[in-house]
């Protein structure tokens, strides 16, 4: 494959007048279309260093601007929001700004698109580069204009940003450019991408984790046309010209496997975790003296909360296209961190980073580290072995069984109340997977016996286990466990959904013990006006009726209806979120129906209120699904939640009415909004179940059986 389409072209430079702004124009000869061809980074010549304005912005001859960002739109609306942020500082209409995302050859490395950092890190960097460019335009002299140079400017960290009062683009509900394409079947996903000579690949995974491949009987697929078996130690795959042939071959190829690693099984996993070997204990927070305060408390309470393993559950199984040739490696992938994937593939396959290119393309929503990186390595192995570009897609059971999981979490909470019912002491103890340095191991790389990192991380799991309310004596301890049964990774709002579930449900228990209305109880422990505002706004929207410690609600037609509330400040440093819920609990079946949800959300500056609202609504529905339905089950050898029948998620008939209030604070910094509204969901739901029935559900998911058991125990 030729790389000549990428020859750099720095020569073009024009002066243009557009909308009163003088613009320097130059081009690198690279446009989005070039992303469909293979080619190592080094041939492109476009700067990607995050300190250079030229890395982020290219102004075309017609005065339009191309923004380059290493952050990617995982379905969240970043694609329009970053354009709005750039357009605002450049004083251009948003239609004049285009975007290239996550191509390691063209875009700066701005880190993974995770932890709600798409706009707070990625967008803010782009904004500063745009502000630097705008200031440079203003200072241009005729001599500069004749000199034939491009920006050649460092991003000025002090370049003045526009006064939010003058914003014309940021804060507007600009429509997402991808939605018309998605609604008409024209959006090109990595699953839809093809390149000349491309073969289709499938991987045959062992039935038990880590099993050895003993033998393969290729005669079993002789009837299937144009298939080749690829076997590298314990890695087994097939490639074929026809996708259906690859699928059938993977299904019908007879392979014999040895025994794999033994798993503890998902039943009773909370007990297993509690007894797990600890690598280290970490005092996450140690404020005041919780032991003394607890001993002197008027009343003490304790409860344990448990959150299960969950799958990212991407609707489309992970997919990648790889082209390995001439000592270079090109991968098209919807991975959330293309630059990190490039570094990892470079290390694993021994190809210099400058000869590895990862091009981001849209995929099915990943919500964190799903199987995308594994699929990329699978595709590279198959392309290398077959000497052709290979499109590799996992099947449904691969994605469900083998995507790295949002890990289980166990949280013990204890509190001491003073005579007025205020929190005098708070102690939290959590059991979470330990972090190990390096990149998460990829399945096929281990199977092929190749060296790689065996790092472990599932995101910032230990945050938000302390109450956001006045509490003079707080101790939060994390037990970092040596072993975790399933390969963990970050899954949306990692750790914080489980922690806030515990904190907010336990706060409800404290309010009940103090005989105080749950909303009033929260308000009396808060001084931050932004916190108070989201709580009051939610209460008003919802029509919250204050009540002291409640008796169970009347049973009508076998159903009890209750109301629950939760509040959190995400990571104790970012978004303010309050949520109220109305639920109906069927006492006979244990089925919980969420009828309506109200949520007030404050993320500071709002870049695009429509896209933000879409995120908040989505977080509520997705987390209702995780809270009510989702648990990855496994036996002693393998995951048994392998499709949508064995891993059910929330469906349309169970979607509640949702009312969202976005509190806009344009004068304040923005916080990312891709996670925060998730964390208050399980607490509000558990508290509503308590209000309805008097029963506490402290283990997710809140399945009918579990709710029935809680009703009986109560």
């Amino acid at each position: 494959m030729t790389t000549s389409t990428f020859s750099p072209n720095f020569s073009r430079r024009d002066l243009l007048k557009t909308g009163g702004t003088v613009i320097v124009s130059f081009a690198f000869g690279v446009r989005g279309a070039a992303q469909t061809a293979s080619g190592p980074d080094a041939t492109l010549g476009k700067p990607t260093d995050t300190t250079e304005v030229d890395s982020f912005l290219v102004v075309h001859a017609d005065g339009s601007v191309m923004v380059y960002t290493g952050k990617v739109d995982l379905g969240t609306g970043l694609r329009i929001a970053i354009r709005q942020m750039a357009a605002e500082e450049l004083e251009l209409p948003v239609e004049r700004v285009s975007l290239v995302e996550g191509d390691t050859a063209l875009t700066p490395d701005q880190g993974s698109t995770g932890g709600s950092t798409g706009l707070t890190q990625g967008g803010v960097q782009v904004r500063r580069a745009a502000a630097t460019a705008r200031e440079a335009f203003r200072k241009l002299t005729p001599a500069d204009l004749a000199s034939g140079k491009h920006f050649d400017l460092k991003v000025d960290p002090k370049a003045p940003l526009k006064d939010p009062k003058t914003y014309r683009v940021v804060g507007q509900p600009a429509l997402r450019p991808d939605v018309p394409l998605k609604a008409t079947g024209r959006n090109t996903y990595v699953q839809d991408f093809s390149t000349p000579g491309m073969l289709h690949g499938r991987v045959i995974h062992p039935p038990a984790v880590g099993a050895k491949l003993l033998s393969v009987d290729e005669a079993t697929i002789r009837a299937i046309p144009d298939v080749r078996v690829v076997r590298i130690k314990n890695f087994l795959g097939v490639v074929a010209k026809d996708e259906w042939a690859a699928i059938r071959a993977a299904r019908e190829l007879k392979a014999t496997w040895g025994e794999g690693r033994t798993l503890p099984g998902s039943d009773g996993l909370d007990g297993y975790v509690r007894k797990g070997a600890v690598d280290r204990d970490e005092a996450v927070i140690n404020r005041g003296n919780s032991a003394t305060a607890m001993a002197g408390a008027a009343k003490t309470l304790a409860a344990s909360y448990y959150w299960p393993n969950q799958s990212h559950g991407s609707l489309g199984p992970s997919c990648a296209v790889a082209d390995v040739r001439d000592g270079s490696l090109t991968v098209w992938s919807s991975a959330q961190a293309p630059h990190n994937l490039r570094a990892n593939l470079s290390k694993i396959f021994g190809v210099p980073a400058a000869k590895v290119r990862v091009v981001y393309m849209d995929g099915a929503g990943c919500y964190g580290g799903n199987g995308n990186d594994d699929a990329a390595a699978d595709a590279v192995l198959l392309s290398k072995a077959s000497g052709a570009p290979v499109r590799l897609q996992w099947m449904r059971q691969d994605e469900h069984a083998l995507d790295p999981k949002g890990p289980q979490q166990l949280l013990d909470l204890r509190a001491g109340l003073d005579a007025q019912g205020n929190i005098a002491a708070w102690e939290a103890e959590m059991w979470v997977p330990m972090n190990k340095p390096g990149t998460r191991p990829l399945l096929s790389v281990d199977a092929a016996g190749m060296a790689q990192d065996h790092g472990q991380g599932a995101g910032l799991m230990t945050q938000n286990a302390d109450p956001p309310y006045t509490a003079p004596n707080v101790r939060v301890v994390a037990h970092h466990l040596k072993d975790t049964p399933l390969r963990p990774s970050n899954l949306r709002a990692p750790g914080k959904i489980a922690n806030v579930f515990g904190v907010e449900a336990f706060t409800d228990e404290l309010a009940a013990a103090a005989g105080v209305d749950p909303v009033a109880y929260r308000l009396r422990g808060l001084k931050d006006q932004r916190a108070i505002d989201v709580i009051q706004r939610t209460s008003e929207m919802f029509g919250w009726k204050p009540r002291p410690a409640s008796a169970p609600r009347p049973v009508q037609g076998g159903v009890q209806v209750g109301y629950g509330f939760a509040y959190a400040r995400y990571k104790q440093a970012e978004n303010y979120v309050a949520m109220a819920m109305e639920v109906a609990v069927n006492r006979a079946t244990g089925k919980v129906t969420v009828r309506r949800v109200a949520c007030a959300h404050d993320c500071g500056l709002i870049v695009n209120p429509n896209a933000l609202r879409n995120q908040v609504e989505g977080l509520i529905v997705q987390t209702l699904s995780r809270t009510l339905h989702e648990e990855v089950k496994f036996d002693r050898t393998r995951v048994t939640s392998v499709d949508w029948a064995t891993y059910p998620i929330l469906r349309f008939p169970d979607v509640p009415a949702i009312e969202v209030a976005l509190i806009s604070r344009p004068e304040l910094p923005l916080y990312g909004a891709g996670e925060a509204a998730a964390v208050t969901v399980p607490g509000a739901l558990a508290n509503a179940i308590f209000d309805a029935t008097g029963a506490r559900v402290r283990t997710a998911p809140f399945t009918p059986d579990r709710v029935k058991a809680a009703l009986v125990a109560d």
């Binding site: 998605k182 008409t184 079947g185 099915a364 989505g618 499709d643 008939p653």
Partner: protein, 155 residues
Amino acid sequence: MATYKFQLNGRAASAESWDPAQPLLYVLRNELGQHGPKFGCGLGQCGACTVLIDGKATRSCLTPVRQAAGKTITTIEGLGTPEKPDAVQAAFIAEQAAQCGYCTNGMVMTAKSLLAQNSKPTLEQVKQGMAGNLCRCGTHTRILRAVMRASGAAV
């Protein structure tokens, strides 16, 4: 190799397949360039692969190509374009009813079929009619509004 003929998006189309049991999904995507229908599960559980066969929403991942022969097939590409979307697609755009969009094909095609059978559904009827289609991003409320909007209901 057998050849299978059908009407695709208003035109005569034919495709070859070595296996009469090959699901229509792969024929549409790999032989006929229709990338709208998506592979989600291959089990008929999620709806991402939905197309209309003789006007009825059908899971193309479970439909053998030989069964589709002689039928009239409509994919999402056959409804409209970004510039000229059909009424259901226009409603999805107006409501910004997508996040990752991987399920959107199935949502639009199922809604199309639903509205063809019941042009003025209630919200509850839409929820029941869409119950077999999964969305992982949680875009449900917007999808419901889009279907109601497409039916002419006030949203």
